[in-house]
């Protein structure tokens, strides 16, 4: 069994856990923004920074992101300090300057005691905080339709090889590999990735998709591209994806019922 010190308390952990996982298992709160337990760690927001040291480091310490730093034996971790509060507050201040009007960052600022940013607001702000959740979820789905494009203050999320933002109409650039599954929009914490479901189908990333309906009940299911992708990825037949979850369950239950009950009565 492995153990380390967390805010002065000895805690156990399993090999391979990150500091964030150990902290959460021990109900020690650490703020996060770009972290999602189902996705690869990104380490971009720097809100989950903590201080680590070791007895043999002679007072030397370093600030690390808890979502990525591996827990290790005899590590001494502090999740709260004057310095950490100052750092996290500055990070939030920077994000608030980036997205001054976005409800998500405004609420975040309030949590950190900032009514508004103390820094210069971005000239033409949008709602993207570049947390990278959309890019990672798209990769996890297997579509890889969007990625980080350009760099530094010009960084943005978009499809690969898209023309730069100043050379195309406003809005999301057309993503050729998008399957219209909406995962990116669902995971986006600020609502920056916009989409529309209407009578014609679905619009997202500058593309229009048809929406397939459940073969049994007629409820909207998803785009044909999405169902093809899921079928190919799972190795299951395309038919499997042509019914909504509720109808699939019902079908299974009926089949089960028929088989079991049928056997019982014969």
């Amino acid at each position: 069994m492995h153990s380390m010190q967390l805010n002065g308390r000895l805690v156990n952990f399993e090999a391979g856990q990150t500091l964030l996982e150990v902290a959460r298992a021990n109900e020690v709160p650490i703020p996060t923004l770009c972290h999602h337990p189902g996705l690869e760690s990104h380490g971009g927001c720097r809100l989950c920074v903590v201080e680590v040291t070791r007895a043999e480091w002679d007072g030397w310490w370093r600030m690390v992101s808890a979502c990525e730093f591996p827990a290790a034996d005899d590590l001494i971790v502090a999740t709260e300090s004057e310095r950490l509060s100052r750092t996290r507050r500055n990070v939030v201040d920077l994000l608030l300057a980036r997205c001054p009007e976005t409800p998500f960052t405004v609420a975040l600022g309030r949590d950190f005691g900032l009514a508004k940013s103390s820094l210069a607001p971005r000239a033409e702000p949008d709602d993207c905080i570049l947390c990278g959740l959309c890019v990672r979820v798209c990769a996890a789905v297997g579509a890889h339709a969007i990625a980080g494009a350009d760099r530094g203050v010009h960084k943005q999320v978009g499809p690969p090889y898209a023309p730069p933002s100043f050379e195309r109409p406003p809005g999301l650039a057309p993503a050729g590999d998008c399957i219209g599954c909406l995962c990116c929009a669902e995971i986006c914490p600020t609502g920056h990735i916009r989409y529309e479901n209407n009578a014609q189908g679905r619009e997202i990333w500058g593309r229009s998709f048809r929406v397939v309906e459940c073969a049994s009940c007629g409820a909207p299911l998803g785009t044909p591209e999405q169902l093809d992708h899921f079928a190919a990825r799972s190795g299951l037949s395309r038919d499997y994806f042509e019914r909504c979850d509720a109808c699939s369950k019902l079908d299974t239950a009926r089949a089960f019922d028929q088989q079991v009950m049928g056997e019982g009565t014969s």
């Binding site: 971009g44 600030m63 500055n90 980036r98 103390s118 350009d150 760099r151 530094g152 203050v153």
Partner: protein
Amino acid sequence: MLIESVAALRARQAELSELWAGLERRVLVCAGTGCVAGGALEVHAALTQATEESALDVSLELSSCADRDGPGGTLLVESGCHGFCELGPLVHILPDDILYTRVRPKDAAAIVEKTLGAGEVIDRLLYKDPVSKEPRQGHGEMGFYAHQKRVVLARCGEVSPASLDSYLATGGFCALATALDTLTPEEVLREVEQSGLRGRGGGGFSTGRKWRSALRAREARPDSRLHVICNGDEGDPGAFMDRSIMEGDPFAVLEGMALGAFALGSTRGYIYVRHEYPLAVRRLERAIAVLRDAGLLGERILGCDFSFDLELTRGGGAFVCGESSALMRSIEGKPGEPRAKYTHSTDRGLFDEPTVLNNVETWALVPYIVDHGAAHFAAIGTERSPGTKAFSLVGKVNNTGLVEVPMGTTLRRIIFEIGGGIQKGRAFKAVQTGGPSGGCLPAEKLDLPVDFDTLTAAGSMMGSGGMIVMDERTCMVDVAKYFIDFLMGESCGKCVPCREGLGQLSSLLAQVTRGEGSESLLSKVESLAETMELASLCALGRSAPNPVLSTLAYFRDEYLQHIEKQRCPAGVCKALVTYRITEACTGCEACRKACPVGAITGEKKVLHVIDDALCTRCGACEAVCAFDAVLVE
């Protein structure tokens, strides 16, 4: 020509060394990027033609010197960078040690006839001492060269970078031959450990320790491969040490990597070179092909049980790809974004396998260490920073170029003895070391010995070896803003403190240059800088505030003058300066003609006047005034 065994290699080395020693004369035309841009290739062609037309015994390749009865004759080649880029194209004639500067193709006939034919020195092509204006014949008489110690640059400017023969004739591949027939991999590794070599790319991490940890990681995962990588993505503004080594002595870099691969049991290496270095790419690609043909790269090198091959990858132009984890992702074909190095790349680097990444200069030093022994190398330089370091000395010094000195040499010696002092006799103000994320050191720090630890303690860093000298006419706020803006454009944008912090620092510094803000603005700058240093994901972000912090530490008063008195003491920040013409004006009309916006009025022989409302502070009037009558205040 395939060399089949270590014995055959040694025989070839002996044969070529004899030819080399028998040469009567060597004429070296610098074909580094700077001199090539100045027309060095045309100079070489003109010299070739002139020698062909003469009766002189001149060869263009070392091996063709063997075709005659006895040794001797003159070897005329294009060489790597001579270092003194300021006065290129350069032609160096050895052993006479005659250095001709700013040579034009039309000078070729005179050089061949007078110098090569009659042994005369052509005075007008010699370098003139900036102070005494006396001509200096060669390296021996020039402060620029006399105070240098060339180890890693020893062959740069001495041999043709395209010629494996010249490399072999000057001791090349002796180290690999020794390693293959008398040393074990462990012995090579121990030699590097004991030499105390520290990485020349910036961090100064012990090369031996890095190699050792990668070897341990690989032993712990027997199914994994170990990769060696050469980082040739030198992107610091004003830095060209690594470029010069790759262009001037490519075989040394490749031999160093082969030795590393031998010590570490690696079979695969990568060289990552920035796309902006086409000449380096070409020479390395050629060198790799030549070594494959010679059996010095590939399967069973020299018939021994050691196989190693290399692949050259070109970077796409992102500064951040010089950061090791971003570089590895770039080689893998992914976006060049750094990752947190909580697991070292020696453990999980390229393709998630143990990886050793060193920079060009570090690899090029390995053959020297194996050849001369760890103790010999450790005796050069200082105890904690052994060896020499190459610097690119640029800015407001008289002699700019590529220099190499033992570690521990003072900044004063580099700037004033090698660099020949400040241009136009102006006062020294600061030297910026370590590239964009380095720091600016003031005159009080000139006697600091240059080594990894001293520079870091002084608030700057060694970095890969850029050295930019600034004079009294440089505004330190403007300098800080320049570097912050550079980094703002080059940050990968993955983490918040670096991406957003640099943008904010840039706009805060812009306010200072306009004379806006107050002391609280400076505390905002310092607070942001602290967050960036502590919380950024990679070393680029963590060191990015250095230019601001070091100038604030040493030149705080200059910041305060901008903010409190709306004054730029160096006369640089356009919003804060006015141009005025003083009584010294003779009415020559030069400034009136030079002014691009017509802001200057005045008749011939009458005092001229600048209309401040029209003036754009471009400085054209000041530049043309021969009487120092334009005052910037």
